[in-house]
């Protein structure tokens, strides 16, 4: 370093550079490559772990001096930009981000002091370091003037290259660090803003969700109360007596129909809840789709007949496909009940089931008003109805179609809605794949819990339970009495218990042939009851057939119940005929165990 120490900043150094004096490594480097050009490509792009070059602006009206500064600073590895006047320097400052300005005090037009003051006054250049080079002897007064105008440091002539390089290096580093810090700050601010915006939007979403939930609850209670009104009203009339036989029949029939309507609302609601939480599962096996569709049509005929709606169906024979029969029947009946709901009295609803290529198409076409174009994209969304104001055209929670879409999707199919072209009315078309690939694991019908719970076709409905001792356990008196009355009607010898404790005592004493138990009971529940019974030795009734009669109706619930030891799971509300059938079957198979 000593050899560079006293290089004088005069023409001499330029000459030295021009001659490529071997002692001056800087000068050598300068001539060996075009530093300014190659480094210019690095303008911009700050920060990062690697040292990013910053821009050093050299300002002098004498080209020779510019070259010598450059030669000295080249080894710093920064980008060097040259300006030969104060004006050009300002122009460059505006175009580039400059870390350090090294400028001569004495320049024509705009001298170093003025330029420094201008740079410093501009908010954009607050971080830019200004180094003044003074060719004349720097007096303290001059220095003060320089500092006042915004310069950070002075370089006196004769220039000591090592000193110049060190000073520029320090300021370049300072700039880099300030810049990095600023970048971090900016990034932090950006993140804070982003998080704030996220929080704000989450809050808005939560508010909206809350509002939708409130609206939904209001609608739900409305939809549950509407049939309840008919139920309780007619029940009240029946209690008061004095109705003629016809009216009595109509009253009971209305109560029954509206209770079913409520049950359907509740199961729709639970299905949606399962859809939302991803708990909806399919019980896949090879099924006869035409039969499923026909069953749905048959089940809904009374509803159609009540509005004198003609329900016609064209059902093609189709080879068994993989699917969940119960769920697909639900799809068909939701589409049908939707169509019937929207079709005016005396209208028509058409059903078509057809094999098209490798797919099955199910189409339900109605005579209703069709769907407003703006509503079509949302038709399958939850909780949507064409009109949610009090001028609602139709009853219901708007859940049916959302359930349809989900179930069809789970079968690998799709569903679409469109308006009829020929006349007013809507068309819903579900497309299901035929391939059996959905059947990932072959289902052994004998082991399937659904098979256990299902009743073989052709079993006589009028089964007799004569001499069968049945223990009915339910904490809810109405439900208990209903089952007891039903079984007694069929000749069963019924004993009842309202708790697990009472049930166990009765069980041990009376040794019933069959057990019908509710699951949710205060204190000990039905799970506990069946486990205790299954732990009994064979001779004390440990294998007594047991039916779980519960409002827990999901597939996982059923699995748990069967795992715990129940033989059959019947979801509430149970149809009397179904209960009798199941009991009769179990009696035949298990009475003498």
């Amino acid at each position: 370093m000593i050899d560079e120490a006293t290089l004088e900043l005069t023409e001499g150094i330029v000459e030295a550079g021009a001659k490529a004096e071997p002692d001056s490594s800087e000068a050598e480097a300068f001539f060996s490559k075009d530093v300014t050009q190659s480094k210019f490509t690095n303008l911009g792009g700050w920060g990062g772990a690697m040292k990013q070059p910053v821009n050093i602006l050299l300002v002098d009206d004498q080209p020779g001096k510019l070259l010598s500064y450059e030669a000295i600073l080249e080894s710093l590895g920064e980008n060097i930009i040259r300006a030969n006047s104060g004006k050009q320097a300002l122009a460059l400052l505006l175009r580039h981000e400059i870390a350090v300005v090294l400028m001569d005090v004495c320049m024509p037009e705009l001298d170093g002091f003025d330029l420094a003051a201008m740079i410093r006054s501009h908010p954009r250049f607050q971080k830019t370091a200004i180094l003044l080079v003074s060719g004349v002897l720097v007096e303290d007064l001059d220095r003060l003037k320089g500092y006042d105008s915004g310069a950070l440091d002075y370089i006196s002539v004769p220039i000591i290259p090592g000193l110049l390089r060190a000073k520029v290096a320090v300021f370049a580093d300072l700039y880099r660090k300030t810049k990095a810090l600023e970048d971090v700050n900016l990034e932090l601010e950006r993140r804070v803003a982003e998080r704030t915006a996220e929080a704000e939007s989450a809050r808005r979403e939560a508010e909206l969700a809350n509002q939708l939930k409130d609206e939904f609850l209001a609608m739900l209670s409305h939809e549950l109360r509407t049939p309840l009104n008919a139920i309780s009203g007619w029940a009240h009339m029946l209690l008061n007596g004095g109705l003629d036989a016809n009216t009595q029949h109509k009253a009971v029939e209305t109560i029954n129909r509206n209770a079913m309507l409520q049950a359907r609302l509740i199961s729709d609601l639970l299905d949606v809840s399962r859809i939302v939480s991803g708990r909806l599962r399919l019980d896949l096996r090879l099924i006869n789709l035409p039969l499923v569709v026909q069953a749905a049509i048959d089940a809904i005929r009374p509803e159609a007949a009540a509005k004198r709606i003609e329900l016609d169906a064209v059902i093609q024979d189709i080879d068994p496909i993989a699917g969940d029969a119960t769920r697909l029947q639900q799809v068909v009946s939701n589409l049908l009940s939707n169509a019937i709901k929207f079709t005016p009295a005396d209208g028509h609803v058409h059903v078509r089931l057809e094999k098209v290529g490798e797919q099955v198409e199910l189409e339900v076409k109605d005579d209703g008003p069709g769907m407003p174009a703006e509503f079509l994209p949302h038709i399958f969304e939850r909780f949507r109805q064409g009109d949610s104001s009090t001028t609602r055209m139709h009853q219901g929670l708007g859940l049916g179609l959302a359930i349809v879409r989900r179930l069809v999707q789970m079968h690998g199919g799709s569903v679409e809605a469109m308006n009829r072209q020929d006349k007013s009315g809507a068309i819903f078309k579900a497309t299901l794949p035929i391939s059996a690939s959905l059947l990932q694991t072959p289902v052994d019908p004998a082991k399937s819990p659904a098979a256990l719970a299902s009743v073989p076709a052709g079993l006589e409905t009028e089964g007799s339970l004569k001499t069968t001792r049945v223990l009915v356990v339910d904490d809810e008196p109405d439900a208990r009495e209903m089952v007891a009355a039903l079984l007694e009607q069929r000749g069963a010898d019924v004993m009842v218990a309202d708790s697990v404790r009472q049930a166990l005592a009765l069980f041990e004493r009376e040794r019933p042939h069959l057990l019908v138990a509710d699951i949710e009971m205060p204190g000990e529940d039905g799970y506990s009851l069946i486990r205790k019974i299954r732990n009994l030795p064979l001779g004390r009734g440990g294998r007594t057939p047991a039916i779980a009669l519960t409002a827990y109706a999901s597939t996982p619930d059923r699995m748990r119940l069967l795992d715990a030891g129940f033989n059959v799971h019947l979801p509430k509300p149970v149809q009397p005929a179904e209960l009798i059938e199941v009991l009769t079957k179990l009696t035949q198979s298990g009475k003498h165990i």
């Binding site: 209670s221 509407t226 009240h236 001028t391 609602r392």
Partner: protein
Amino acid sequence: MQNGDKLILVVDDFEPNRDLYAYILSDNGFKVAAASNGLEGLDKAFQLRPDLIIMDLSLPMVSGHDACRQLKADERTKHIPIIILTAYDIPNAAPEFGCEVILTKPCMPDAMLAEIKRALDSAERTKV
């Protein structure tokens, strides 16, 4: 007061409820007319000039609220007492709806009959 002289219009789109009240009311000696949407309700109200109207809120075509407003704004019908019978839980909103009283479903027949009697008596007194 003879119930047989009185005509009551029931406006409800839910058929089981329409039937229920038609039955209860005729059983109690009223004459009954029924409408299954708001528009039909308005038509029948203007045409038949019933002595009292039982109006659901959630109705096709014209909501019960709008129908109520129109009836109460019209010289020909504004004196007709209106009982709003709704499954919405808004028992105290009668002033807002301009009706005489709001009953919440499920509504027991006796409660309904009592309100009808009260409304008819009060309308009778206003007439005198």
